[in-house]
Symmetry: C2
Subunit: 396 residues, 2 copies
């Protein structure tokens, strides 16, 4: 008996989707579910009580960031990341792989997703342009520079697992190499083979019985490599799986479906770093159980509000005298209590409360949207729901 | 019958202090009380629910700032500043006078209090150094430049009252000239005479029966001018009084006592912009009922934490592994749920939640301290409480 259990409550007819129940040492997660990102042991601007009140069931923190600041030892001494941040619910950490590579190697290849991710770092990092030369992969691990102070660090699969055991989340991930999809076939094959060796080493290094370990499927945009990766990773007795790497929109459906047909049905699947509305529908349809993404909270802090009719820029002058919620009928704390005019004012004045109210709304929106997909699987209305929702959302 | 009522529950034996009950259209304020500052219709980083939960009874917003951004008309259309910001409790606004002068005239005279106040503006205002030349007072009013975009604006007593009626707080203030205490006697006399004419004009301009209007006593560091001002302002049928201007620590006790001996005992008295612990004790002892100050919240956002043993810098390395509340025994949300180590981490990482948790603690601390002074007046232990508290606080 592992640290988690997963059961399927209902299957989506005609596709791979399913509604499931994931039980962790810190509580239950009804899947599919959206996982808010709390990079530095805080979902930026909001409290754990607010995280729960907006409907989130589980939070993901970033090992790379916590290792650099404040250091994993602090988390271990605090009794784990949950206790450290005063969050009693389920938690997960990524392996640090994505951040290590997104701050270095991938930079030179113009991958949009990675570049977007980097922007936040670049603001804090005058030396960022140096990084592309300064991430070095070898068979044993990766040497890289801190985005905070440029100091040299090294991650290996064993070190990543050790850090994640210290951080102490309920679900942790194997350490993988995150490649650019523009990588040559030859290099991709070599990288994938190494990621598979690292998966086994991560599995072997893992000692904590109260933590679940997920393996990560890579393989870029090559269906045969994805298939090979899914088969290999599925052959190791992981508690669940992550699907990593950057996708084109077109690839996503086919690649995710292909992978999930191979992965054992009875274990949970996490799609790493995906949070666009269309992608969430596709992912759920293709059998993804968990999604994490910093996008909804990042755009919130720039004043971009998610609504059923598309994204809205709260800074636009049209909101200045609108004394109505940012989304009619929305049950979030922000929409229940504040107007567009007030949020517009807060953002114009760069008031801290604005970032917070927008974050609460965007997370509520996306968490409840994935919850609604789950409900639609259960009552056999998923495809109608998807069609109707996206028609309105994309009409704007 | 005016917009407010004020009754004295208990008098401090041997001094001018009193415990009172102030009733406003939006609720009761037990005095003496500390009033958090919500400059731009938000107590920076926290919600109105949090303002109430930390024990605050009333909030003060700044007319100058709200006039510039988002404009008083928005407040009027929203149904007043309380509704605009989703705060159902009592509110007050200042007249805008202090900000107009602190962004201009007072600058050249090296007044610490004013300069501190200005720092926040300077960060947003590249043109700040121009302002000292660009605030022009005449008999009718003041012409000044916006600290946001340098545009020209004009306030008069009538305009200040009109703005404050639009903003719609429960308690508003007469428009005064805020002078430097280093002003020559001759110029101070001229300024004071004008402030008195402006007080009468403010009184005459005020039309809203659901708002209380407080007159402001000025007179700088000259006891005879303070006396003259208190007598003149007391002769107008204001609902209460503000005491304005910059004081030296030594002057504060004598000047405030002198003024409050003259002001009618049955009306509430507000000390403008004072929030240092020692000054709060002095003010309460000398008969002040209300204090507002942005200082506790401003230092919170810099990581300075108020405790019974003095101020603490949460950024210091000594807090890095302290898994205990920032103040043992404190009942605030922050101390109940988070550790020094976590706050230290949030501040090091410049995480938004840190500003918020520190703000909650500092306001809780100062609101409860003034509440404790009130309780000490009621149970005849004020002087013992003051002595004991300050001995520990000043020992650090």
């Amino acid at each position: 008996m592992g640290a988690i259990t997963f059961s399927i409550e209902k299957r989506l007819k005609g596709a791979l989707g399913r509604a499931g129940i994931l039980t962790t040492p810190h509580g239950v997660v009804r899947t599919p579910a959206f996982v808010p990102v709390g990079t530095l042991a805080t979902v930026k601007s909001i409290t754990p009580e607010e995280v729960k009140a907006l409907g989130a069931q589980i939070v993901l923190a970033n090992t790379y960031h916590l290792y650099l600041q404040p250091g994993e030892a602090i988390m271990a001494k605090a009794g784990g990341v949950g206790k450290f941040m005063h969050y009693s619910g389920p938690t997960m950490t990524d392996s640090g792989g994505f951040q290590v590579f997104s701050l270095g190697f991938a930079r030179g290849h113009g991958i949009t997703k990675v570049l977007k991710e980097e922007k936040a770092h670049v603001q804090r990092d005058e030396a960022a342009s140096e990084h592309s030369k300064l991430v070095r992969v070898d068979e044993d691990g990766v040497t890289f520079l801190s985005h905070i102070d440029g100091s040299t660090h090294r991650f290996t699969p064993e070190r990543s697992i050790e850090m994640q055991e210290n951080i102490g989340a309920d679900i942790i991930f194997a350490f993988d190499e995150c490649t650019s999809p523009l990588l040559s076939r030859e290099k991709m094959e070599a990288s994938l083979a190494r990621t598979h060796r690292w998966a086994q080493r991560s599995f072997d290094a893992h000692t904590r019985k109260d933590q679940a370990l997920f393996g990560i499927v890579q393989g870029g945009r090559y269906p045969d490599l994805r298939k090979q990766s899914a088969e290999y990773i599925a052959s190791i007795d992981f508690d669940g799986f992550g699907i990593g790497g950057s996708f084109d929109k077109e690839d996503m459906t086919t690649i995710v479906g292909l992978v999930n047909k191979i992965l054992p049905e009875e274990k949970p699947r996490h799609m790493l770093g995906i949070g666009e509305i269309e992608d969430l529908f596709e992912g759920v349809e293709q059998g993804i159980d968990l999604f994490d993404c910093a996008h909804p909270t990042r755009i919130a802090r720039n004043g971009t509000i998610l609504t059923a009719h598309g994204k809205r820029d709260i800074l636009k002058a049209e909101h200045r005298e609108k004394f109505e919620p940012i989304e009619e009928g929305c049950g979030c704390y922000t929409c229940t209590n504040y107007t567009k005019a007030y949020l517009h004012h807060l953002f114009k004045a760069k008031e801290l409360l604005g970032y917070r109210l927008a974050t609460i709304h965007n997370l509520y929106f996306i968490v409840h949207l994935v919850d609604a997909m789950r409900a639609a699987i259960i009552d056999d209305s998923f495809f109608d729901f998807k069609k109707e929702f996206l028609a309105i959302y994309q009409a704007g």
